[in-house]
């Protein structure tokens, strides 16, 4: 046998590919350097490159045409299912379903198979003509839907609208945590030493009010409208929004303190890690995180089983925050449900916790 190079060579050797002569490799490197210079010197040309990428993303059926199975993941670390990804997946399925196959199955029954084969053969030119037209139409339609979806998604991101996102994992499995008892409110409010303070979730606003009474600016975010209404009636600054989205949408280094309570008791660990990472970004250098949650171990048996994996104990919160670069400690609290709170102050530039 011979390889393409040596006809004399006997047997089945597989020749290694020749990547090119040294002078050609040198030339390629020189060209790549020249291209970099051109990019730097000629803004118009550099812009074409960026523009082309965007135009092609609009024109091709999917932003991730190659490897389209990989889901379009959410950039935040909350592990929330991204609506763009979910619908993108749906559009992928729609695209697959819309592709008409002119090769009609003919089965395996002997006599019938021949007849069906003959019919298929005779009509193929016609069926193919029709399916080609439909496939082009369906492809264009799906392509436009994808573009629309991508543009809507960008618009929603820019506007901070995330209300249509699915309910975070965990919500609904456990009953909503009750409003904070007075001893907890007092304890947490006294632990906050700088504003502005963000309370997630704010409930009916007792904690926001208590912090405000200390002369610190504070507001809460609550996703249950009835609780928000109760707070608004008392003229407390409680905003109705998805708490996680609000945190993500806040400016970096905006808050002196962030209080985590209520809804965090019902979220899985991955989301909690995401919250800590985000909260860390949104805090000022000397900011605090205060966590007021009940210990999941104290739940009833039904809640324990239904809520397995949702919420973590104050001790674990303490550990998590320490791992994120905070100095964190537990402080006892004279409440039957929340027996201790976690107070955490940033010690240095907080590292990000890897999921």
């Amino acid at each position: 046998m011979s390889s393409p190079e040596s006809l004399d060579t006997k047997q089945s050797s597989v020749e290694e590919p020749n990547a090119g002569r040294p002078d050609m490799r040198h030339l390629s490197a020189e060209i790549e350097a020249e291209a970099d210079n051109l990019r730097q010197q000629n803004q118009e040309i550099a812009l074409i490159e960026l523009e082309t990428e965007q135009i092609w993303a609009d024109l091709s059926p999917s932003d991730n045409a190659v490897g389209s199975d990989s889901s379009v993941g959410s950039d935040n670390s909350f592990g929330l299912q991204n609506s763009f990804g979910a619908e993108g997946h749906l559009l992928d399925r729609a695209a697959r379903a819309a592709a008409l196959n002119p090769q009609v199955p003919i089965g395996s029954r002997r006599g019938l198979r021949s007849i069906k084969w003959a019919v298929r053969k005779l009509t193929y030119w016609y069926i193919r003509f029709l399916t080609d037209q439909f496939n082009v139409f369906a492809s264009l339609l799906v392509q436009h839907l994808r573009n629309l979806e991508a543009r809507l998604s960008r618009l929603e991101q820019a506007a901070g609208v995330v209300d249509e996102q699915p309910v975070p994992a965990g919500l609904g499995v456990l009953p909503d945590p009750p409003e904070l008892a007075i001893p907890v409110v007092t304890k947490v409010a006294s632990a906050v030493n700088a504003g502005p303070c963000l309370v997630l979730s704010g409930g009916e606003g007792a904690l926001v009010q208590a912090i405000g009474n200390q002369g610190l600016r504070a507001y809460g975010v609550e996703q249950h409208p009835d609780r928000v209404l109760a707070g608004l009636r008392q003229q407390i600054d409680i905003r109705s929004e998805n708490v996680l989205a609000h945190l993500v949408g806040s400016k970096d280094a905006e808050f002196g303190a962030i209080v985590l309570t209520g809804v965090v008791e019902t979220l899985p660990l991955q989301d909690l890690i995401g919250i800590v990472n985000q909260a860390s970004l949104k805090l000022k250098n000397s900011g605090q995180i205060i966590v007021a949650v009940a210990n999941p171990a104290a739940r009833s048996q039904v809640e324990l089983e239904l809520g397995a994996g949702l919420g973590i104990s104050p001790a674990t919160w303490c550990h998590l925050l320490q791992h994120a670069g905070f100095e964190a400690w537990l402080e006892p609290c004279t409440d039957a449900r929340i027996t201790e709170i976690v107070v955490a102050c940033r010690t240095a530039q907080a590292p990000t916790i890897q999921n």
């Binding site: 006809l7 089945s12 597989v14 060209i31 490159e49 091709s60 045409a65 190659v66």
Partner: protein, 354 residues
């Protein structure tokens, strides 16, 4: 008497590299006095003298399967557990087609699955390139031979006309690509590069020769050219005759290839044979096929490709070097040599006593 060789192929088509390759193997073996029968799944106008797979009795001395896509002929081999010589032309990864043409994506996926099932039935693998050969070896096929695709383009080699190219005007030049308009061939990258090149050389043009598969890709390519403002200088030549193809090779100044998956790359060799300088992205078997006779880029961002093409168009000395090296490199694929290689690959199976 049973035929000595059966060659199994999904279908014989005109202007198709695998079909031409099959015909040339048939001619080669018939010259050596072997009886050859071509077995097809779908019969077309180009299938004179073939038999349908339903009538295949797998009684030949050697059965050669041409494999590059999922097919009924491959399935039949698997079903009958017939020993074969696997002539592998590589299978484009399905990811390139999934979003554009799910039907084709399923077909190539099936081809990959069949490849795994064919491996234990393979007496010998014949691969177009070392790149393809490695894939077969990774499947556990030990006896693998590299033997390029057989094809004969009229006037293929232009040994003597290396210096006859006209001078390219300072602001012009024709950039050519030959091959199916398909997502894995990445003609969209060529249009993007051309958009940059056209700023450097306003009278340049891009010619894309080849049929669209899938048709949606062609629509998107046209949309891209329009939105980049170069649609009046991008020629979509479509599927052309051999004569017209030669014409395009003659009028072109450089062949550019941004393909991400080439199991061999016949147009690269054709271009080299015609003395056309080649600028290509380093993917799959491209560098191996060029054999140091073209500019191989590890980056195919538009500015990089355009810079390389511009360099070739303005540097006469470089053109001359590439032309000479290309012609020499293409000689490795001269039909007389590749026929011999194919015969070497099959001889001991057909003439065990030798």
């Amino acid at each position: 008497m049973s035929p000595a060789v059966d060659i199994l192929i999904p279908q014989m088509a005109s202007a198709d590299a695998t079909s031409n390759h099959t015909r040339l193997i048939q001619e080669l073996l018939e010259e050596k006095q072997f009886e050859v029968r071509i077995v097809v799944e779908r019969r077309t106008r180009a299938t004179r003298g073939t038999i349908p797979i339903e009538k295949w009795k797998c009684d030949a001395q050697v059965s050669i399967l041409q494999h590059s896509i999922g097919s009924e002929v491959a399935q039949c081999v698997i079903r009958k557990r017939s020993p074969i010589v696997l002539n592998y032309h590589n299978i484009t990864p399905a990811e390139y087609f999934r979003a554009w043409q799910p039907e084709l994506a399923r077909s190539v996926e099936r081809g990959r699955q069949q490849l795994h099932q064919l491996a234990p039935l393979t007496r010998r693998g014949i691969a177009d390139s070392a790149f393809n050969a490695r894939e077969l070896q990774e499947l556990g096929i030990n006896d693998v031979v590299v033997s390029p695709v057989l094809w004969q383009l009229d006037g293929q080699l232009s040994h003597g006309d290396a210096e006859t190219t006209n001078k390219i005007s300072e602001d012009g030049g024709t950039m050519l690509f030959v091959g199916r308009l398909a997502p894995n061939k990445c003609q969209h990258d060529l249009i993007a590069a051309f958009a940059v090149l056209s700023r450097l050389r306003p009278k340049s043009r891009l010619v894309l020769v080849g049929d669209a598969s899938p048709p949606e890709y062609l629509l998107s390519l046209k949309g891209l050219a329009r939105r980049l403002g170069v649609n009046d200088r991008v020629v979509f030549a479509g599927k052309v005759s051999d004569q017209d193809l030669l014409g395009w090779y003659q009028v072109a100044d450089v062949l550019a290839c941004a393909s991400e998956h080439e199991g061999f790359g016949v147009p690269l060799v054709e271009a080299m044979a015609k003395g056309l300088p080649v600028v290509a992205y380093d993917a799959a078997a491209v560098a191996e096929t060029l054999h140091g006779a073209g500019i191989v880029l590890s980056d195919k961002r538009p500015v990089t490709v355009a810079t390389a093409i511009n360099r070739v168009l303005k540097d006469r000395k470089l053109q001359s070097t590439l032309r000479h090296r290309g012609i020499k490199a293409a000689q490795r694929f001269d039909i007389s040599l590749t026929r011999q290689q194919m015969w070497d690959a099959l001889r001991d199976l057909l003439e065990p006593q030798s």
